[in-house]
């Protein structure tokens, strides 16, 4: 039996023309992606992209400027890694384009460590399994106050000794007095020895005087630098408070509301207890740092219509991740009739901070 079938004619020229789609390279990559996960990785626009905290330089709990060379000094979550030579000032500035930015102003040159220091850096908690063996991208805006060409490195390394680099350093260059966008993609090592990693951005090599400004710093997974992820101030502050909390400071107005009205108890004629709940659970049991200058950090204590303070010393503290207890000494020769009473306590002088930084 003969079977007859027909086949529609194909215009090869038309078919080829259809293949010439205006999709571009990125569009082609999206079409070739085999899974939704691949597509999401290509877009890189899913939520919670920025692994940095306070990448917008909005939260400055400690101070809004510093001239000290190393450690956590002003802007939250950003550590200064510098050498003792020369001098610089870091400060919070308001920019017409970005709002809050960090200004790094070198005032005295130091050429002793051009390949290492003068960095801002941020440890990223438990990032080991997120980044190892994967591409990561760092992006930020930079402005050079001068028109002289300046440069510095950007690198990702293990946070802890030894500071092994997870990928070769890359370098930014800036020579104009205007905002420039920089992005760098690193392919990180397959193995990361410690839990925490840190991002380092060198702000100057020590020899070029003048200011550099940095804004909207982002560190994200993938090969694509996506637009900066904005978070509200309240959310950013809460994220910062996991690592540092300014509990009391009678020297500035910002934390005044935390001075007043703690309820304590008189345990004995020499011991009064008061507990302060922390607004955010901290990363680890915090270290308490307190003022010693002048009268130091001390409490006012009131009970049974009498002033039984100010405290003459802090004998002990009981920090946990959620609260801090203080064991303070009331005024001398306190009558035993107060023992067992509740008391009202206010911070009278000084400041006290809780820190659980990496």
């Amino acid at each position: 039996m003969a079977v007859k079938f027909t086949k529609p004619e194909i215009n090869v020229r038309e078919k080829l023309a259809e293949l010439d789609k205006p999709s571009g390279i990125a569009g082609e990559a999206m079409l070739r992606a085999e899974t939704p996960q691949d597509q999401q990785a290509l877009i890189g626009m899913s939520g919670r992209r920025n692994l940095l905290i306070n990448g917008g330089f909005d939260v400055w709990q400690r101070a809004t400027s510093n001239t000290t060379n190393s450690g956590y000094r002003s802007v939250d979550r950003w550590l200064f890694n510098t050498y003792t030579g020369g001098a610089f000032t870091v400060s919070k500035e308001t920019d017409s384009t970005f709002g809050n930015v960090l200004k790094w102003n070198r005032t005295t040159a130091d050429t002793s460590n051009t390949n290492a220091g003068n960095c801002i850096q941020q440890p990223i908690e438990n990032a080991k399994y997120l980044v190892q063996g994967k591409p990561v991208t760092v992006s930020f805006w930079l402005k050079n106050e001068k028109t002289v060409l300046r440069s510095g490195f950007v690198r990702v390394r293990i946070s802890g000794s030894p500071h092994t680099l997870l990928a070769p350093a890359q370098y930014w260059e800036s020579g104009s007095n205007g905002w420039e966008y920089h992005s760098f993609t690193f392919q990180t090592s397959e193995t990361v020895a410690l839990d925490h990693i840190e991002l380092q951005i060198q702000m100057d090599n020590g020899s070029s005087m003048g200011a550099m400004y940095i804004a909207q710093c982002q560190f994200e997974l993938g090969k694509v630098a996506t637009p900066f992820e904005h978070r509200s101030y309240g959310e950013e502050l809460a994220l910062c408070q996991r690592y540092y909390q300014k509990l009391f400071d009678t020297n500035t107005g910002t934390y005044r509301h935390r001075w007043q009205g703690r309820i304590g108890s008189v345990y004995s004629t020499t011991r009064v207890f008061v507990t302060v709940d922390l607004p955010v659970q901290m990363r680890s049991i915090p270290t308490l740092v307190f003022e010693t200058a002048g009268n130091g950090f001390r409490w006012d204590i009131y009970s049974a219509n009498a002033d039984i303070g100010p405290s003459t010393g802090i004998s002990h503290t009981y920090p946990s991740r959620d609260s801090v207890g203080f064991d303070v000494t009331p005024k001398a020769n306190l009558s035993s009739s107060y023992v067992g009473f509740a008391c009202h306590m206010d911070v009278r002088d000084g400041w006290c901070h809780a820190t659980a930084e990496l």
Partner: protein, 175 residues
């Protein structure tokens, strides 16, 4: 200077400095600094004797640091020396297949042998040219190959770490 404050009523301990209370918490950064100071300064950093539990923690940290340093140093020394190079060698691996051997009258593993090419030693010296702008002259001199110099320095530093590593640490790593 650190002081350990003990509260027997609540059975708690905390380390006090002039302006800090530091919890005995492994995750706390300042506590790790206390241990580092004990390792480096011994009893000089403490008021009175170092409490036993802190000394134990410091010893454990130092041991872990020495283990890590010893492993890194061993790996560095195990790398070939640039001034000597590596002779040609062969490596035989099993392919995972078996074939019938007529002479032995049994199935035997099939192996493949690879030749790993030699790595030639670097030149011991290199020529270095310096140019004097004032006199408009250049001078060429022969100097030790800086790559070899650096390699030898790193090897020596690694060997020094190995030599200084306490026996128990070596035993822990080497078995």
């Amino acid at each position: 200077m650190y002081t350990l404050i003990e509260d027997s009523m609540f059975n708690t301990k905390i380390i006090k400095t002039e302006n800090m209370f530091i919890p005995l918490e492994a995750e706390n950064t300042e506590y790790q600094k206390v241990l580092d100071d004990i390792i480096e300064q011994g009893a000089d950093c403490f008021t009175g004797d170092i409490p036993t539990d802190l000394q134990t923690a410091a010893d454990a940290k130092q041991f872990a640091q020495q283990v890590e340093a010893y492993k890194i140093a061993k790996a560095r020394v195990a790398q070939y020396q640039l001034s000597i190079g590596v002779p040609e060698s062969t490596q035989t691996i099993s392919t995972g297949r078996q074939e019938w051997n007529e002479e032995a009258e049994e199935m035997q593993d099939v192996t493949e042998t690879f030749v790993i090419p030699a790595i030639e030693p670097l030149e011991a010296t290199v020529e270095e040219t310096t140019y004097d702008f004032d006199t408009d002259t250049s001078t060429t001199s022969t100097v030790a190959n800086p790559l070899i110099v650096k390699d030898n320095e790193e090897r020596a530093a690694a060997q020094a770490i190995i030599d200084a590593t306490p026996g128990p640490v070596k035993t822990h790593v080497d078995g």
